[in-house]
């Protein structure tokens, strides 16, 4: 008998101090039966990848508002690869301009969700990609 649960890390890289959106997502994922490791604001790429490794998560969800994503994501994806976390699903949410989406996807960020995205959509996306 196994009771496998989907484990998700929700992290907020960058310097801005608002995590309302990240908390809404964290609660929605919990309500969908997932175990959500929430690490709080101002996470460095190193902190995020260290937590993803120790917590053995299936998904890393990055919430970003500051516009620093094009600087932070390459570093995060690099570190993930270095630590052998290639099989972890990475998704991003927040304020990310459309023109940056292809570049993020090319880096390996599988899902990019704008501010209006319903939490149901995100839950479904995660479930589909992990099955």
């Amino acid at each position: 008998m196994t009771d496998k649960k989907i484990r998700v890390l929700i992290a907020k890289p960058g310097l801005d101090g608002h995590d309302r959106g990240a908390k809404v997502i964290a609660r929605a994922l919990r309500d969908a039966g997932m175990e959500v490791v929430y690490t709080g604001i101002r996470q460095t790429p190193e902190m995020i990848v260290e937590a993803a490794l120790q917590e053995d998560v299936d998904v890393v969800g990055l919430s970003i508002l500051s516009g620093a994503h094009m600087a932070l994501f390459p570093r995060i994806m690099d570190l993930m690869r270095q630590h052998g976390l290639d099989d972890v699903l990475v998704v991003a949410g927040g304020i990310i301009p459309d023109e940056d989406v292809p570049a993020l996807q090319a880096m390996g960020v599988k899902g990019v969700f704008g501010p209006g995205t319903s939490t149901d959509t995100i839950v479904r996306f995660i479930r589909e990609h992990l099955s």
């Binding site: 009771d3 649960k5 609660r27 039966g33 959500v36 120790q54 917590e55």
Partner: protein, 354 residues
């Protein structure tokens, strides 16, 4: 797969440690074999339980304690003895409605990021309470086998699950806050049985001294009235010896362990400012020394091993009996119990008899 993981854990490989803990949490088939292979390498760590109500500052305290054990009070490496490697298992409740959980303890443990001598794992309480205690104990074994010298287990509250987890720990720190401790009645029953050390955290808030007094009174009531002391739920004879007193020379080959009393000390702490943490850390080490000198460490290892074996036998024999009884036969027996044609005792004899 299993061999690979075992090797990784023993080498301190973080991915292997993380994977093995997941295996245990998910109750995977390989978990047993992995734990079996790790068992000879366990038993070296000192295990500290930290329990108390939500929001009392458990995570903040674990953060401050871990930082102290890594770096000393001034942040200088090596101060106050050699730094210890620290493993942390932080348990948060699973939502009974969705089965999901938000595990937020890492928020308070930012100071520990980037230190290769620290490993933090968040766990959700998931299913049954008894199951949680064993999953936690098994996760601790993984960190123990990986060579972490000090292991903290953070759990909420003081229910049965916490009592069970306290049995896993060598030293249990109970965290209270001003206000809660005002009223002796408000201090949860059962807390005295598991507490080796009290921390009255948030001592920057009003009423900390009052809380300390209330706790002290409870301890006096508990310890003063009788010649016995409750320690980890077990009544033990109190042998009053002078400090550093020698045990009388034993006659028989197997002298019973006769621990002198450990009186749980009470400390005021302000976890967010790292105040009171040195005293708390010192008390944890003192309690370890007490357990070793009193012979209790050995005695409790035996008790724990016995309880563990018993649980495993229960689970395994239940599994075997149910696997043997075909579904129909079982359903028929249950129907007969409901119809009062047979009683459950006799029915179980049928099943156990084959």
């Amino acid at each position: 797969m299993t061999d690979h993981l075992v090797e990784g854990v023993l080498a301190g490989d973080r991915r292997a440690i993380a994977r093995t803990i997941s295996l245990i949490e998910d109750n995977g088939a390989e978990a047993q074999a992995t734990l079996a292979a790790l068992h000879p390498h366990t038993g070296r760590a000192h295990i500290v339980g930290v329990t108390g109500p939500p929001g009392s500052g458990k995570s903040s305290l674990v953060n401050a304690l871990a930082l102290y054990f890594r770096r000393g009070a001034t942040g200088e490496r090596g101060e106050g003895g050699s730094p210890k490697t620290v493993g942390i298992i932080a348990v948060d409740p699973t939502s009974p409605f969705s089965g999901g959980a938000i595990l937020g303890d890492r928020i308070r443990m930012r100071d520990l990021a980037g230190d290769p001598g620290i490993f933090i794992r968040s766990m959700a309480s998931r299913g049954s309470l008894g199951g949680l205690a064993w999953a936690t104990a098994d996760a601790v074994k993984v960190l123990d086998a990986a060579g972490f010298e000090l292991i903290f287990i953070e759990t909420v509250g003081a229910g049965q699950a916490e009592v069970d987890i306290a049995r896993t720990a060598h030293t249990t720190v109970v965290v209270e806050v001003p206000g809660l401790g005002d009223d002796v009645q408000a201090i949860k029953a059962g807390i005295l049985e598991i507490a080796d050390i009290f921390a009255v955290n948030k001592a920057d808030h009003e009423g900390a001294d009052h809380a300390v007094m209330a706790l002290r009174m409870m301890l006096d009531l508990d310890l003063g009235g009788t010649a016995t002391v409750l320690h980890h739920g077990r009544l033990m004879e109190v042998v009053r010896t002078v400090t550093g007193g020698e045990e009388p020379p034993s006659q028989g080959p197997l002298p019973p362990a006769r621990p002198s009393a450990w009186r749980p000390p009470i400390f005021k702490t302000i976890a967010t400012r790292h105040e009171g943490v040195v005293d708390l850390a010192t008390a944890i080490l003192a309690h370890r020394a007490y357990l070793e000198q009193s012979g209790q460490l050995v005695q409790r290892e035996r008790e724990r091993a016995a309880a563990e074996l018993e649980t495993i036998i229960q689970q395994e024999s239940l599994r075997r009996v149910l696997a043997c009884a075909q579904g129909e036969k079982l359903a028929a027996l249950i129907d007969r119990i409901v119809r009062r044609e047979i009683d459950p005792y006799t029915a179980s004899q049928h099943l156990l008899g084959g």
